[in-house]
């Protein structure tokens, strides 16, 4: 596994920790947090994992994945992964310059996450890919997901297109981005639940003393860990240079596993937090609303699981084991 720079992670967590307060996250709903976006841009963190030759900050997919997980953990209200993991990647593949500012990725047209606040669109069609200023495309109806992250219907008009990733490949990349965000947010839901179990007292003792809640917490931790493992498999396998079909498989596994974990972890986290946990004033909701939204975006767990299942069935039972043991690849030491 490729080690992620400890200093990089420290910087990321310190920026998110300072700026992603519950107040700031709440206030940003419907748009983005401009202060946070500036801080990330100034430190070069918004384009980690994108080659310097196309205007990114350089660094590996592992670095970008670590930042994405942290963004999910802190509920960062910015289109960070749209810009780096998805948009930046499309640009790098196509040799296009990644423009400054927040990016939204138009996947063939239609609902485009973060479009209302994007400075530029990375347009992906099956005829080619391109980069245009946000004003250059027709933006229709707008809305927001459960967590107030905005989207808009975007129509792709005439644009200068060059050869690049297909819509399906870019959509898979979007699913990877959501899976990474979810891996971080799932961890946060577990962490908040442990804190609350220790601090809330009933019957004269912290509720974490009750065995049933200890078991909830262990189950949540397990689902969070296995979901993160599926994401880490995906990142390792993609970084090792897998072909497009295998990239789709490992991303499918990551999105399916994280999406499944949301159903379990959100339910138990809210059960454990009692009524206060689903009020507006408790910060758990910034995490759980994002998780409910992200599991549906760029393909639900059912869609991705079916995609993975179809490719495994086509390959046949005997092919499964060699596939499983190649995730992640053995490492030359």
């Amino acid at each position: 596994m490729t080690a992620v720079d400890a200093l990089l992670l420290e910087t990321v967590e310190s920026i998110f920790g300072d700026l992603c307060t519950p107040e700031a996250v709440g206030a940003a709903e419907g748009g983005l947090d401009a202060r946070l976006w500036s801080a990330l841009t100034e430190s070069g963190l918004s384009t980690v994992g994108v080659a310097e030759s196309v205007g990114g900050s350089g660094g590996t997919l592992h670095d970008a994945a670590a930042i994405a997980k942290a963004a999910g953990r802190f509920a960062a209200p910015v289109p960070l992964t749209e810009t780096s993991v998805v948009g930046g990647w499309v640009c790098e593949q196509a040799g296009l310059q990644l423009p400054d500012g927040p990016v939204a990725v138009v996947l063939g047209g239609g609902r485009t996450y973060w479009a209302p606040v994007a400075a530029s669109f990375v347009v992906v069609t099956d005829r080619g890919v391109g980069v245009v200023p946000a004003g250059a495309l027709t933006v229709g109806a707008t809305g927001a997901n459960y967590a107030g992250e905005p989207w808009a219907e975007v129509t792709v008009g005439a644009a200068d297109l060059v050869a690049g990733p297909s819509v399906a490949e870019a959509a898979a990349r979007g699913a990877l981005a959501r899976a990474l965000l979810m891996a971080g947010a799932l961890q946060q839901a577990v962490e908040l639940s442990v804190l609350y179990a220790n601090e809330r007292e009933q019957f004269g003792k912290p509720i974490g003393k009750f065995q049933i809640l200890q078991h909830y917490l262990a189950e949540m931790a397990g689902e969070a860990v296995v979901a993160e493992a599926a994401c880490d498999n995906a990142v390792d396998v993609i970084a090792a240079g897998a072909d497009s079909a295998e990239v789709s498989q490992v991303i499918a596994a990551a999105k399916a596993t994280t999406g499944r974990a949301v159903g379990i972890i959100n339910r138990l986290a809210h059960q454990l937090h009692g009524a206060i946990g689903y009020t507006d004033e408790h910060r758990l909701q910034y995490t759980t609303r994002r998780l409910w939204a992200w599991r549906d975006e760029h393909g639900s767990e059912a869609q991705w699981a079916a995609e993975l299942g179809r490719s495994l069935a086509a390959a046949g039972g005997p092919a499964l084991w060699p596939t499983l043991v190649s995730w992640p690849r053995p490492l030359a030491v």
Binding site: Q214, L217, E219, E223, A224, V225, A305
Partner: protein, 382 residues
């Protein structure tokens, strides 16, 4: 918090590839020759001494043990790879399973030279087999409450008591038995005063009684010991240190690939049974099982790498076992929903074996309730 649990490196070294290809070729040849039919849960129920001897003769047992005792001095990760291939190919490995996994390592770590010289070479050859003597009728999850005793006599010890859930005691040669050598009242704590012995299961005073399972299978036994004489040199490790010796091995016992691969042969057969163009529902169910399995395997490899590096990831192992044993129990549930019985005989057999063995998955080696308690403590619940 999840980050208190640590699953660092998860990629096996490429040096393990050679033995993976070798064991896989061996197993494919055995299957093709009709030596065995891949089955589920074979690490507990597939007792086949010929097959175990063949594995020994081909150098696949005692992989990490010293060459002077017939071992191969290879890495623990080479052994991990061999074991996961054996499980994935549904091979009959119950005869030597406990021997290779924990009895041999336990004797090498705690045994005296005479014991090692007498037993380890035969263990590495796949010729003698061991069982576990821990649980008792009134001591399951609360293992420290065991009542079996060993009393010092001239030249050895007299063992008395009853052990239960002793898999394959009727087929195996020895078990490593945990008994009290000092009463709790004198030992200064419940966890003190226990010792381990290597006991010949054919000694006089030993009665092995079968316990049949609801499936009709017989691998469990009750072992009743009445004044069984065990010579001094068969004590394993230090008198009174039995508890620590047992607990120190739990991470090894709990984290292996047998904790999520018991029903793998059924999963592979399920993929073939639904055919190359499954319904969306079948594809989604299979896809989700495999997605989770792939994540779990990563965690399992990570624990193996940690163990190999000398760490003792007890909590991580408990978490992997909780997740893995539940997943291996879900595979037959999905399989029977997706493929109606009466179409493929071998598939039906795999489903039946899995459904009827599944209750054991989340019990053996520490119930999932005990495991979750361990995980919760590590998460920081006070």
């Amino acid at each position: 918090m999840a980050s208190r649990l640590s699953f660092p490196d998860a990629a096996l070294p490429s040096s393990t590839e050679e033995i993976r290809l070798r064991i896989r070729a061996f197993l494919e040849a055995e299957i093709a020759a009709g030596t065995y039919v891949p089955s589920c849960d074979t690490w507990l129920s597939g007792h086949d001494a010929d097959f175990s001897r063949k594995l020994g003769a081909n150098g696949f047992l005692g992989l990490t043990w010293p060459k002077q005792y017939g071992g191969h001095e290879r890495s623990a990760l080479d052994r991990f790879v061999v074991v996961e291939e054996l499980l994935a190919h549904g091979a009959p490995i119950a005869a030597h399973w406990i021997t290779d996994r924990q009895s041999g390592p336990g004797i090498l770590k705690h045994g005296n030279d005479a014991l090692k010289e007498e037993l380890i070479p035969q263990m590495a050859a796949g010729e003698i087999y061991f069982s576990i003597g821990m649980s008792e009728p009134d001591s399951g999850s609360d293992l420290a409450s065991i009542r079996s005793t060993a009393t010092k006599v001239d030249g050895g010890w007299l063992l008395n008591g009853t052990k239960v859930w002793t898999s394959q005691a009727h087929n195996n040669h020895y078990f490593i038995v945990l008994v009290r050598t000092q009463p709790i009242a004198e030992s200064g704590g419940k966890h003190n005063g226990m010792s381990q012995f290597v006991m010949d299961l054919r000694s006089s005073g030993v009665e092995v009684r079968p316990i049949r399972l609801l499936s009709g299978h017989h691998h469990f036994n009750e072992v009743v010991m009445t004044d069984v004489f065990v010579p001094d040199h068969m004590m394993l490790g230090v008198e009174g240190n039995g508890w620590n010796q047992v607990v120190g091995e739990l991470a090894f016992e709990r984290s292996g690939p047998e904790r999520y691969l018991s029903t793998y042969p059924l999963l592979a057969a399920l993929i073939d049974a639904v055919g190359p163009e499954p319904s969306a529902e079948a594809a989604a169910e299979i896809g989700l099982l495999v997605a989770r399995l792939a994540g779990l395997r990563r965690l399992c490899v990570s624990v193996a790498i940690s163990l190999d590096a000398g760490r003792l990831p007890v909590t991580e192992a408990a978490l992997v076992k909780d997740l893995g044993t539940r997943l291996e129990g879900e595979i037959p549930e999905v399989a029977r929903r997706l493929v109606a019985p009466g179409r493929i005989e071998r598939f039906d057999q795999l489903v039946a074996d899995s459904v009827l063995s599944a209750p054991g998955f989340t019990l053996r080696g520490g119930t999932n309730e005990i495991l979750r308690g361990i995980v919760a403590r590590e998460l920081g619940v006070r």
